[in-house]
Symmetry: C2
Subunit: 436 residues, 2 copies
């Protein structure tokens, strides 16, 4: 606090929000005009629209069009301040947080830190596979894919050449399915023309999923529909199969199948991201923190957690709610009301998730949508998917740019952003670790 | 050549082009349908539209919209092959070049490698100032500016705080003028709203130029007009002044003035970029290589140089032509014809530069244009500048995206891309050096 020129609005209770994701943003917006003093901290100076990261990774969109400056979102909101910082420790006894730019006191603390890739303890998988939870990670993935294609042209050893052209996606959730489909389209429409000297049939795409179906939480129809779409597009879908080991070249599956590959995307699991300071016994599986029906962290009255990092076992979800944007946003909106109720000494309202449906896109004219008991798929589902995602983007400029790119790609079968802006270098690892 | 699957068109003479800038692209395009086998090498897989790098650095444009995949430019050109590689050495005796991905033989070699920042031997300036010749460098600059602004908010020491808010641009050529103007507009229209807790008047912008005027090669009217525009916008223009030393914090000028600053952009000089293998005595000042009126490198009949890296002293330009895109493009176009003449044993045609004029933009509605003896400035000049730059961009998608961004910025007074995608870290220096 010493070096900081921060001047919170006098006398208003200090609400400190860690994280500018879907939950933190909704909470902050809903607290506009309220008599609180908000401080938001994030390690990035922008909000990331995670559902479209796979399009950045596969050259369909610029990184800048799915990110939005956090300061800009709350421009003119008088009770809001932002600090671009890493939060290191929460000190509940002193009601402060320790960050990379100093200490900040709170009256109410909201942890909205989201989730990161979960390698289930495997150092090899963490080191050798590519995650895709942030914009820098997506750009690394884009660079790696394009670099390996370039390298395949000058590689004579057949095993190494095959490894450069085999793509394995571990995890058949929405991210894995969308990524597999997107690489299949890149192969069909772009790479064939870009690399005339490459036999495009030597490029293989595998989607590996441990459970008996892709898109776990969706309807049976969507699961089967997505699998069919993927197979039509030339993706090899391996169900009931897990990655057993990977050393950067040889990937071994639980079926004992071996794949030589230099391109492994890890989307097989996530875990909550959390600063130090909350005792270990407050956490459940997947690094999520136990919260009650008001999103209060177990054992505290002034610390809350919302979104991916929170595990609420009331409300009919024994293992916590799904890690999706609508949950985080609905929890953020309710928490803004509950914080005001708390200040007014009124009783709190418990959280009740309103599931509006789920969807995934596999490729051009190919998507699956579940809304309640209703299922549909194909071209109409694809347009619904695009409309919903376009409208969910923060900022009009971003919506226009994304729309222009989509329309362009639809008619030209092209992807505009297949540039290796920053070469990816696994050996130095700086790219991978510097950007968290 | 051993590992490479390269199969050049049988029997056609091998034309190897190093560099996919304005010159290399024009040459390759003009050789379409000719009976030559072209191999282009570039360390990036994309062409960079350098005149708009300053807009990437100041958050006005996405990097992807001013870059274009090289493979895509020549899609379908049967006599073209591309390799993404660094060229290390030219071996004229064996008629091969040695690259990071192997050796390639040539019948005719064209060096179109362009220019890089020139620090005139100062290691300090090279280490502590920021260059802006490539897309990664522009993104570093953007990150640094935004990081220093964030840091200034939590900095209490007044000297350090001032250093974070002082911006010095060394060199008053087009790049320096455009950058100074762009930061001034960022200050006025964006930062004031983004950082309500910052006293925006403490942010100072200096443009330092060694000669008696900015925009050296332009008309007196343009020089004075640009200076007036800059001063109107709050930029301190220091003429007849050079940077004497800079240690990362204290900048000393030739007038003995000292400025504490952490933001120094270096645009005070360029030098030719050249692989090893051409003898030292073939070079002139600024690292350019001597060429004759046919762009043949002095002493060779099969090695050519075009664009920034070439110094042609015929054609009325004693110190070589100006380092601008039209020179490179005109030389590329003529060389394509001369190569065919050479193959047909016809006499070559000497190069004659057709100067179509020059222009620079300072800010919204503020530009200067010289066409022959005609000078105009202001809003019409600004629209001319925009039109010419838009039309010069490679690719329709890029033009649409840039236009959308410009229209958006014009009406909203906003910049869409003020994101710190990759934090800049001078200490590790990986970001600065890895991307060359």
């Amino acid at each position: 606090m010493d070096k900081d020129t921060l001047k919170p609005s006098v006398n208003f209770p200090k609400v400190v929000i860690i994280g500018g994701g879907f939950g933190g943003i909704q909470l902050t917006k809903s607290l506009k005009h309220k008599e609180v003093s908000i401080l938001m901290l994030d390690r990035h100076n922008y909000h990331t629209f995670q559902p479209l990261l796979y399009q950045v990774a596969t050259g369909g969109l610029e990184a800048d069009s799915i990110a939005f400056p956090l300061r800009k979102i709350f421009k003119g909101q008088k009770n809001f301040l932002f600090r671009n910082a890493d939060v290191e420790t929460i000190v509940p006894e002193r009601k402060v947080i320790v960050t990379s730019v100093g200490e900040y006191a709170y009256d109410y603390l909201v942890i909205a830190t989201g989730s990161d890739s979960n390698y289930f303890g495997s150092k090899d998988l963490e080191h050798f596979t590519m995650p895709m939870k942030t914009i820098p990670e997506s750009l690394n993935l884009r660079s790696m894919i394009l670099q390996n294609l370039e390298e395949s042209l000058v590689e004579k050893d057949p095993t190494n050449k095959a490894a450069l052209l085999n793509f394995v996606i571990a995890g058949g959730g929405p991210t894995g399915v969308e990524m597999a489909g997107s690489i299949a389209e890149l192969k069909k429409h772009v790479l064939k023309k870009d690399y005339p000297e490459l036999d495009i049939n030597t490029l293989n795409i595998y989607l590996v999923e441990g459970s008996p179906e892709v898109l776990g939480p969706m309807s049976k129809k969507s699961q089967l529909g997505a699998k069919e779409f993927l197979e039509e597009m030339g993706v090899t879908v391996l169900l009931n199969t897990r990655v057993t080991s990977y050393d950067g070249e040889k990937l071994v599956l639980s079926t004992n199948q071996e794949i030589y590959t230099k391109n492994v995307l890890w989307s097989a699991g996530v875990r909550g991201v959390m600063p130090d300071g909350i005792p270990m016994d407050k956490f459940v599986r997947g690094g999520r923190v136990k919260v009650d029906e008001y999103n209060r962290v177990d054992g505290y009255t002034d610390i809350f957690a919302i979104g991916d990092v929170a595990a609420m076992s009331t409300d009919g979800y024994q293992n916590g709610h799904p890690g999706v944007a609508p949950v985080a946003m609905q929890q953020g909106r309710l928490l803004s009301k509950n914080l005001i109720r708390l200040l007014n000494k009124e009783p709190l309202v418990p959280f009740k998730y309103k599931d509006k449906g789920s969807m995934a896109t596999i490729g051009r004219n190919k998507a699956v949508v579940d809304i309640g008991k209703i299922h549909f798929q194909g071209i109409f589902a694809w347009f619904v998917w695009m409309f919903v995602h376009l409208m969910s983007l923060v900022g009009y400029r971003n919506r226009i740019i994304v729309l222009v790119n989509w329309v362009w790609s639809y008619f030209s079968y092209d992807r505009g952003s297949r540039l290796i802006i920053r070469p990816f270098n696994r050996e130095s690892m700086t790219e991978k670790t510097d950007n968290k």
